[in-house]
Symmetry: C2
Amino acid sequence: MGDSDATLRRRATFAAGLGASMQPMNGKSAAASQSSVTADFGRDNGLGKRDRMVETARSKSKSEKHKRRNDISERMSCHKTQESLLSSSSGFSNYRGILNWCVVMLVLSNARLFLENLLRYGILVDPIQVISLFLKDPYSWPAACLVIASNLFILVALYTERQLSKGSFTERVGFQVHCINMVNMLTFPAAVVLLVPSVTPVGGVFVVGTHSILFLKLYSYKDVNKWCRELSSVKAKKLARSLSCPSAQHLNGGDRKVCYPGNLTIRDIYYFVFAPTLCYELNFPRSPNIRMSFLLRRLFEMLFFMQMLVGLTQQWMIPIIESSMKPLEDMDLTRMTERLLRLAVPNHLLWLMFFYGFFHSSMNFSAELLRFGDRQFYNDWWNSETVTYFWQNWNIPVHKWCLRHFYKPLLRRGFSKMVSQSAVFFLSAFFHEYLVSIPLRMFRLWAFTGMMAQIPLAWFVGRYLRGNYGNAAVWMSIIIGQPFAVLMYVHDFYVLHYRQEAD
Amino acid sequence: MGDSDATLRRRATFAAGLGASMQPMNGKSAAASQSSVTADFGRDNGLGKRDRMVETARSKSKSEKHKRRNDISERMSCHKTQESLLSSSSGFSNYRGILNWCVVMLVLSNARLFLENLLRYGILVDPIQVISLFLKDPYSWPAACLVIASNLFILVALYTERQLSKGSFTERVGFQVHCINMVNMLTFPAAVVLLVPSVTPVGGVFVVGTHSILFLKLYSYKDVNKWCRELSSVKAKKLARSLSCPSAQHLNGGDRKVCYPGNLTIRDIYYFVFAPTLCYELNFPRSPNIRMSFLLRRLFEMLFFMQMLVGLTQQWMIPIIESSMKPLEDMDLTRMTERLLRLAVPNHLLWLMFFYGFFHSSMNFSAELLRFGDRQFYNDWWNSETVTYFWQNWNIPVHKWCLRHFYKPLLRRGFSKMVSQSAVFFLSAFFHEYLVSIPLRMFRLWAFTGMMAQIPLAWFVGRYLRGNYGNAAVWMSIIIGQPFAVLMYVHDFYVLHYRQEAD
């Protein structure tokens, strides 16, 4: 009884198997007997080759049994010797999905943080409040006045260069005038910010930042013009001019190449002041035209990221900073670490937004507007495997300036690479401290120390960590280092201003 | 005055440049004049070719000026037309560092969460408490007794197969005995767990899980033995035997191949019961020997992950679940979402640890101990771009069983792929619900619904999402779907047990 059952099922299975393996006859298979298979074949192929058909049918019946056997024995053996994928001996290494996992986990974690923050604090974003950061008294605009006054430094630099080109000033006199001009450029705004109480910290950063950029630009302007004069004194004037200005032909459709004294115009110096670079050049590469859509996209990004920066600071940074004051005062180390890590995420996101908004959106915006061709404002610092690579690539305008006007001149004067590199870090540390201490009106050297700490860090990472480990170390130093400095300054600022009031 | 200064500096610069480009004479360069260069050359190369030396010196002096000019003009032009890397037109696509960024961010976020948790709750880990999860009354071990009693089912299955092989049972009688045996295997432990109050939920999961695995194993045992009998009835007994047992030679150094009725021994069935597979086979592939170091490493991992699982549950999961009860009762949607996202991270980490601990460590451990050769307990589900691929690859033993004993038999009986696939999901949903509802003693169908929801999800992901988006969707469904079901069950369990007490 059971046997016949099994036979029937076997046939059905075979037919299904045959149907699968022989596509053309898959319609009529079912529990087809041998003769029906033969008949089918006969009908399809005509009657002439009947003998061969019978032969085929017989061999089919054999192969049917054979298939059936193979089918069952295939079903029966379903294991083979092999290693687990996660065993090192398996040699498997495709973990592509892990990146997606990381992204999903980060998105979810931050969505959670966002919700938690909203539930705890409600909505803190207040765009109007931002204005009060710039203005204490709406009738006094010290920051704006200072920025307008900075035009004077530009005009002095241009005047000096004109006198030098005409020979009215000797090199030494010119150098002295430039020096006085440049020292004033750093000390005058600093003095005003320190002494005038109506300058807010944010206004102060703006003033001091503008003047620092101007300082670097005019230093470059002075250097390049001096090189032009040197170049003309190396050889006969004609040859030199043809070098500093290889061919006075039309370039990029309409732009004439400018040669040395011809560049000393108001138009030229102001183009340089507004161009997104710190390195002066007589003939900047120009893009052929202004792409409106590109311009508008960058403008939109600028506005969007500015809003995001303000919103995230109000909603996310400030509550954490406020809640960190107590542990910082008590020097409660565990809570301080927890607050530091908590601050690290929004601080890092803000920095990334600032990076994109400033180095990509607004620099590309001004470059597009001025048809400035060289858009290399940053390099792929996110892949940096050494600290040095990061500092050389995240801020290309400053890096280029340092290389051209500070590092290479030092090398030419015979200093070693090591000393010159340290000097660059020192200069950078000075400017970092200058940009933070003056507006906050307190000197704590946290920024300076942070920058100088990059030298041993660079040595350590370069020496002991390679590839992805180096990259992770660089990220770690960015993500942890910054909020550490921020917390230090905020703490000191708080202690200085609010605890004194409380006492 | 300034002019002579410039000349001097120029010479020094040239010399340094020359020193760099001509390594052999880099010792004595400094402010070397043309004549000293000539003299140096003369001394080094002997006196004979003085004329040529003078000639060389002259051309050197020319090339010196040339170099100097090139040097300055190189310095002067430092910009070239190029796009920013993040502009789509730059064609740049190396964001390798972003993976490291993700890892660093995840590590830091979780370190922060860990610290916050410690600060809020203190240390909650208590290894002793775990024992109370298994035992209510130390003198009554219902779970252990049930597991010991399950040996009876194994012996019944073996006895039935022996009778079938001898022909004492017909196929129909054998089938009926197997059916009764298998229905008992699922209902008996379920009834005991539901009716005996001293079985804890954890003990219940253990009992029900063991019996489910045994059910699947004995089903496979029955099927394979039936196939063996079918195979021997297809052809003459001799030929069939040579097929089910291709060559009765020594295999893998000493292991004899077993043929059909020869496999029906206590030793063989117990090897299969303990082997990390659900699919029976007469001759499993065997590994040549037991690697002690491999065994110990897997054992260490098992113990480590078990501790981690318990610790994380006590420290991280339970506080969140407890704090979720209030929002869940009030149906406060924002807070519920926040708690769900908060639970998602530890729940997912626990699941990953469970996966590694169970599917890699303990399965490899038992495989190594039994010299079981096929270590494919999971495939690269982390790369799965469709939901189907995930379910086919994360649990290979169950997948293999479903394919061999459920999906393919359904196909052979003429059901369509779609129907068979849905049936597999249905079976899986049944077992998921069985494994959860019985130990918790409540029937809510959340697990069942969760599994059945995979069908439309699989359809949606397969239809609309490709590549990394599909992968991210799969991750998302794993990370969010699980804690959702967990929260639902915990909520219902809480309402059922604790609110009733409170009322």
